[in-house]
């Protein structure tokens, strides 16, 4: 039964003080919801208000905030997404990341729109939430278990069937505060970016369990929502190739564009792409759908490998980024091995993007003699040696040995420690954000390279990817290698991705922003326009930018590493040089975003226009 007067919301936040082992419930204010909506927006508000400068990512005073949005659990197909925010270790600035599965819906059904963890437990605990009640329980028996083992163990202990609960947990990587540790749940969905799993590990929080329940919030216009929901589904089925081939369906397309990461960006030649893409996987391996909550796209699959040395292995169908990370980036040409490594990195609880940048860099170092077998503590890190990669992932997750420990802090820090020429081979954004698994020097990817270096959320906030410009009334740029068009486009596009990340939908199941907006209006009754959605996103970006300045952001770090911004030596993007006009691009972007073109700080009039006048003083 719905008790809260704002449709789409339960109206409660659960606050968990892990130090004091105290749990409290706070009411949500409608004005806050109208300003921040949910997901990344609501979390940004709490992060800004409660984490002052001087608090490091592993300080108990850091907050770990889990929030969902008004569409989660509303019946919009696949809408069970939730967001996790904290100050993250990779950047030591604001971090946010989203995941799907069931949690976003179940969190609401169990009584809450969000969770705020503060403090740190004296020993390992996990949280159970059901019917408006929450309890911290002893998790010491779960320490050392991977995330799949944790899910199995907790369901057994609680005596529940698979879909009665949603479970998200950290694996050994989070326990050992690997900087790119993830939070993983519902059999393979991942909160991937900026080490949210490490923050959870610093708090000695092993897992969170939310029970399914009946819908307990109102919907403003249920009949209108049904109509728009079905329109959204029809659009999603016919948009892109995800419905038919999964996200790996675009793998070869990226190769054609020079945008597949191959051997740490040392080349763009990878003729094996045809046997490594989504089309090959779905026509050669056995697949079984394992959809997210009420998802009719069902692009998530369990897969059984049918050829090669890993025949018989059962795992998750790799998303595109896992195919790229454990395929061409490490010089691997066996798709079954990609499935195996996908399962390995997910169960250990580590980000595949940063994991593959670190390991690809280490392989290049090994090839060039910077690392010997003694340095790698016995591992032969030759390109394509997937068993060595599997072993290394396990050592990194446990910070085992000097080498595992070195790589556990990410490739930026590892390469800086090693120094010499090897320092120039690492792929990262200087702010610490991990690029996603593409070669961002390729055609149509400059937008993403630029966004990765300038993001304030530590995930993508401005790039055109997955939402075609025409869907938000913007013209598609005509020259994907134009510094002017790329930086200008990113500024115009900024905001709409964050709207999505506030409302609780999955971008694959709900890829049309205007239809998502219509569903949002049907649920809430707020009658927002597309400009309102963009403004929400820009408000969040600016709030987090001010947060980041307070926490030490330096604009000279808004650039790629030498290798990340290098000129491709072969392939379709050969010779294209993004760094030629990098400084101009950044100034242009700052200016268009309403920031000082020299300092990058949001101008007072920008903050006022976005309803952030109260934080102008924080920039002085």
């Amino acid at each position: 039964m719905a008790n809260f007067h704002v449709p789409g919301y339960v109206g409660k936040i659960l606050r968990i003080d892990l130090t004091q082992k105290r749990i409290g419930v706070e009411d949500l204010d409608e004005a806050i919801l109208r300003k921040w909506v949910g997901g990344v927006g609501l979390a940004a508000k709490y992060l800004y208000d409660e984490v002052p400068s001087g608090v490091e990512w592993d300080d108990p005073r850091n907050r770990l905030i889990w929030t969902t949005g008004p569409l989660a659990g509303s019946g919009v197909y696949g809408a069970a997404t939730f967001n996790v925010s904290a100050k993250g270790p990779m950047t030591n600035l604001a971090g946010s990341s989203q995941a799907n599965g069931y949690f976003g819906a179940y969190l609401k059904f169990s009584g809450f729109d969000g969770l705020i963890f503060e403090g740190a437990a004296s020993d390992w605990v996990y949280l159970v939430i059901k019917d408006g009640q929450a309890e911290l329980r002893d998790a010491r028996h779960l320490v050392g278990k991977d995330v799949w083992e944790v899910e199995d163990q907790l369901r057994k202990e609680l005596g529940v069937r698979e879909k009665e609960v949603s479970v998200y947990a950290i694996g050994p990587a989070g326990e050992n505060k690997v900087f790119y540790a993830t939070i993983v749940g519902d059999r393979g969905h991942v909160v991937a970016h900026n080490g949210m799993g490490a923050v959870m590990g610093a708090k000695k929080l092993k897992a969170v369990v939310a029970y399914r329940g009946p819908r307990n919030f109102a919907i403003h216009d249920p009949e209108g929502l049904k109509v728009k929901n079905n329109e959204l589904l029809e659009f999603a089925k016919n948009f892109g190739v995800i419905y038919k081939w999964g996200s790996g369906g675009g793998f070869s397309t990226l190769y054609a564009q020079g945008a597949l990461p191959v051997k740490n960006y040392t080349t763009n030649i990878y003729p094996e792409h045809e046997k490594m893409n989504g089309q090959y996987l779905r026509t050669h391996f056995k697949i079984r759908p394992v959809p997210c909550y009420q998802c009719r796209i069902a692009h998530v699959k369990e897969v059984t490998v049918t050829e090669g040395p890993y025949t018989g292995f059962v795992g998750e169908e790799p998303e595109y980024e896992l195919m790229a990370a454990w395929g061409p980036q490490i010089g691997n040409t066996d798709l079954g091995a990609v499935v195996m490594l996908t399962r390995e990195v997910d169960k250990l609880g580590m980000d595949c993007n940063e994991g593959s940048w670190v390991i690809g860099w280490a392989m290049e170092c090994y090839e060039k003699g910077v690392f010997t077998k003694k340095d790698t503590e016995g591992l032969e890190l030759t390109w394509g040696n997937v068993e060595a990669v599997k072993e290394l992932l396990n050592r990194i997750a446990r910070r085992q040995g000097n080498f595992g420990n070195l790589l556990a802090d990410g490739v930026m820090r590892a390469s800086q420690k090693v120094g010499g020429p090897a320092a120039d081979w690492a792929i990262y954004a200087a702010k610490g954000s991990a690029p996603r698994s593409h070669d961002h020097r390729g055609a149509t990817r400059w937008y993403e390279l630029f966004d990765t270096c300038l993001t304030n959320t530590s995930t993508l906030e401005a790039t055109w990817g997955g939402i075609h410009p025409k869907l938000v009334d913007l013209e598609e740029p005509t020259d994907h290698f134009s510094p002017e068009q790329v930086s200008t486009f990113n500024a115009k596009y900024n905001g709409i991705r964050l709207f999505d990340d506030c409302v609780g939908t999955c971008r694959f199941a709900a890829p049309h922003p205007k239809l998502v907006l219509e569903c949002f209006n049907a649920v809430t009754g707020w009658q927002w326009s597309l400009p309102d959605a963009f403004n929400l996103g820009r408000r969040i970006v600016n709030l987090l930018r001010v947060f980041n300045f307070r926490h030490g952001l330096r604009v000279e770090d808004e650039r790629p590493s030498k290798r990340y911004g290098s000129i491709p030596v072969d392939g379709p993007a050969q010779g294209k040089n993004i760094m030629e006009k990098w400084g101009w691009m950044v100034e242009n972007y700052y200016r268009l975003m309403g920031w000082d073109p020299q300092t990058g700080k949001p101008l007072p009039e920008t903050l006022e226009r976005l309803g952030l006048a109260e934080i102008i003083k924080d920039l002085k």
């Binding site: 016919n238 948009f239 892109g240 190739v241 995800i242 081939w245 999964g246 996200s247 369906g249 675009g250 070869s252 397309t253 990226l254 054609a256 564009q257 020079g258 945008a259 045809e274 089309q279 998303e319 595109y320 980024e321 055609a443 149509t444 990817g465 997955g466 005509t478 020259d479 994907h480 290698f481 134009s482 694959f508 890829p511 392939g571 379709p572 993007a573 050969q574 010779g575």
Partner: protein
């Protein structure tokens, strides 16, 4: 002048022998065209000649590629950009590759 068309669309068996089968995914054809022809004009002609291409690749009524396809133009295997498929004349010796869109994940 001669230009190369490559289709990365798993139509190789169906398009033989007029298109050379490079692999199960890729098929190719060298085409003789006059100077000044655009990519969309070229594919309109191909779709007129090959009904399968009209069905799968090119909407002759609207004169554009079917949804969920993307095309790039390369010369000496390097992407030409900027390049407008509707307006820019194809340069001699170029290759037009048509493939599925990439959405991400």
């Amino acid at each position: 002048m001669r230009v190369q068309v490559e289709l990365w669309l798993w139509l190789s068996d169906q398009l033989e022998p007029d298109f050379q089968k490079l692999s199960p995914m890729r098929s190719a054809k060298e085409v003789e065209v006059e100077e000044g022809v655009t990519a969309l004009e070229l594919f309109d002609r191909l779709a007129a000649k090959y009904p399968l291409l009209a069905e799968k690749l090119f909407d002759r009524n609207n004169k554009k590629f079917r949804p969920n396809l993307s095309a790039i133009v390369t010369k000496d295997d390097i992407v030409l950009s900027p390049f407008n498929l509707e307006k820019d004349p194809l340069p001699p010796g170029c290759k037009i590759t048509v493939m599925p869109v990439y959405v991400g994940g």
